[in-house]
């Protein structure tokens, strides 16, 4: 499903070269739940961005869904992303649209037939326990609800791979537990999950394979 081979990502800040990722290699199989753990600034987000080709590695190869991500054309990148659900720390909900419209929006831009949209949106909202809040605007949601809405938006497209970049980073313990439970359900539904967090305790409670990253280096792969 995912394979990184000796990946380096180096940013240039004037004459200074800053390595964000150094010689990172790992594999994630289909249907796996993998936690990517590391402190803030360790390189988690950089690594995840390489997976959905929001950035390209300076060196090395990134393969996702059997495709060499670095060599994809713009059209192929779009096609790859249609198979990936992404959730961010800030939910990135569109403020001028309701929860329902936020979820429906991505289905519409991907050309989902209109008659299917309502059903799929409500299936996704039910899965995250938000059907009752379908007509609420993002500003009317709690942080946990916003994150659940973002998850609904990600899973409405039935992705093969779910990338969650610190989805619980802004949440208190109770809300974080709810979000994690939903992510587990998505994984149980057959999706491969890559879950990034800076909270080592949270990674431990997930009891899944954990990749620990520190200063851009993969320092541990356990579980």
């Amino acid at each position: 499903m995912i394979e990184l081979h000796r990946v380096w990502k180096i940013y240039s800040v004037g004459p200074v070269k800053v390595p964000a990722l150094s010689d990172v290699s790992f594999r994630v199989g289909k249907g796996e739940f993998v936690t990517l753990c590391g402190p803030s600034g360790a390189g988690k987000t950089t690594l995840l961005r390489l997976l959905y080709r929001d950035d390209v590695p300076t060196e090395g190869e990134v393969e996702v869904l059997h495709q060499d991500v670095g060599s994809l054309t713009r059209v192929e990148v779009a096609a790859l992303r249609r198979s990936i659900g992404i959730v961010f720390q800030d939910s990135k909900l569109l403020p001028g649209r309701t929860v329902y419209e936020n979820v429906a929006f991505v289905l519409r831009v991907l050309g989902t037939p209109r008659r299917e949209i309502t059903g799929r949106v409500f299936d996704a909202l039910r899965a995250v326990g938000l059907s009752a809040r379908a007509q609420a605007y993002p500003a009317q949601l709690s942080a946990g609800e916003a994150q659940r809405a973002a998850l609904a938006r990600a899973i409405a497209r039935k992705p093969l791979l779910l990338i969650a970049d610190e989805p619980t980073g802004n949440l208190d313990e109770g809300m974080a537990a709810e979000v994690i439970e939903i992510v587990r359900d998505i994984w149980a539904g057959g999706a491969t999950v890559l879950f990034a967090t800076h909270q080592a305790t949270l990674a431990a409670t997930l009891k899944q394979r954990t990749l620990t990253i520190h200063s851009g280096r993969l320092v541990k792969d356990e579980g």
């Binding site: 959905y52 929001d54 713009r74 992303r81 992404i86 569109l94 929006f105 991505v106 831009v109 991907l110």
Partner: protein
């Protein structure tokens, strides 16, 4: 899908607010100016066409030919390229016409010791012969006739009028072009503002793998809608001005240019203006697209 994209474009148009209105008004202004010149030019063109139909060349003859000779001359001239019709006017007929023209002073003609008017051929050129080049060639051919003394009439003044019309059209294009560039820049600005306002949406669209045309088409459509609205307003302004001013200046135009009725733009002109507006807006929207994602 197109309905959705159109809806997004309308939403963007509302977001652009005053800048979008400025863009629409600028497009209105540029197309109204262009349309007004077009209107003026098409009526002048009508006048030129009518003048051309009335153009006549008069070949004054050295001496009055006999009946058979005159008939042979007419036949010879009729076969010349650029000649539509030929009429022989004898000295007596010319004097009769002069008497008619003089009216109550016709008696003056009777005081003349002899008829001073020459016999002539009145020539109506064909459409080809009524152009500046055609008329020049025809005059050369007629001058070469041994019977010709002098040639009167001509098309120079009419051609100057036509040239004036062409100049007016060039001026219109110049003014229209300047206003069009201004309109494009305003549409670009309006669309760029929208681009910033919908940055989040575009980011989400790209992250979920929406095709690039779906991401960008609403911007193009928004520009085209501004253009179309501007063009429709411009046509409305032209219709209003025509209805208001037309009847007042029609007698003057009829008197000076000989055009009995002013005409409004033809349907294909109106459609062209609407297409031009849509195109202007589309170009503005297209220019504001910015760089696609790497």
């Amino acid at each position: 899908m197109f309905g959705f994209l159109l809806g997004e474009a309308l939403r963007d148009l509302r977001r652009a607010g005053r800048v979008a209105i400025s863009a629409i008004l600028l497009i209105t202004l540029s197309l109204a100016a262009l349309g007004a010149f077009w209107l003026l030019s098409s009526n002048m063109s009508e006048a030129v066409t009518q003048f051309r139909e009335r153009v006549k060349l008069v070949v004054y003859l050295r001496r009055e030919p006999g009946t058979a000779e005159a008939s042979a001359l007419v036949d010879r001239v009729r076969t010349m390229p650029g000649v539509g019709a030929v009429r022989y006017v004898g000295k007596a007929e010319a004097l009769g016409t002069l008497r008619q023209v003089l009216g109550k002073d016709a008696a003056v003609a009777d005081t003349l010791p002899q008829n001073p008017l020459p016999a002539s051929l009145e020539i109506t050129p064909t459409a080809e012969g009524a152009t500046l080049e055609g008329a020049r060639a025809l005059v050369t051919r007629l001058t070469a006739l041994p019977e010709t003394d002098e040639i009167g009439g001509g098309v120079e003044w009419m051609e100057r009028f036509a040239q004036g019309q062409r100049l007016l059209w060039l001026f219109a294009l110049g003014v229209g072009a300047v206003l069009a560039v201004a309109a494009i820049l305003t549409v670009t600005t309006a669309t760029t503002l929208v681009l910033h306002a919908r940055r989040d949406e575009m980011e989400i669209m790209r992250l979920v793998g929406a095709p690039e045309h779906v991401v960008r088409l609403p911007l193009l459509l928004q520009g085209m809608m501004q253009g179309l609205l501007g063009a429709m307003l411009a046509i409305w302004v032209l219709v209003a001005c025509y209805a208001l001013i037309g009847p007042r200046i029609e007698p003057l135009v009829s008197e000076t240019l000989g055009v009995a009725r002013l005409t409004f733009l033809r349907p294909h002109n109106v459609i062209s203006l609407m297409l031009a507006g849509t195109l202007l807006g589309g170009v503005g929207g297209w220019l504001a697209r910015g760089r696609p994602e790497a």
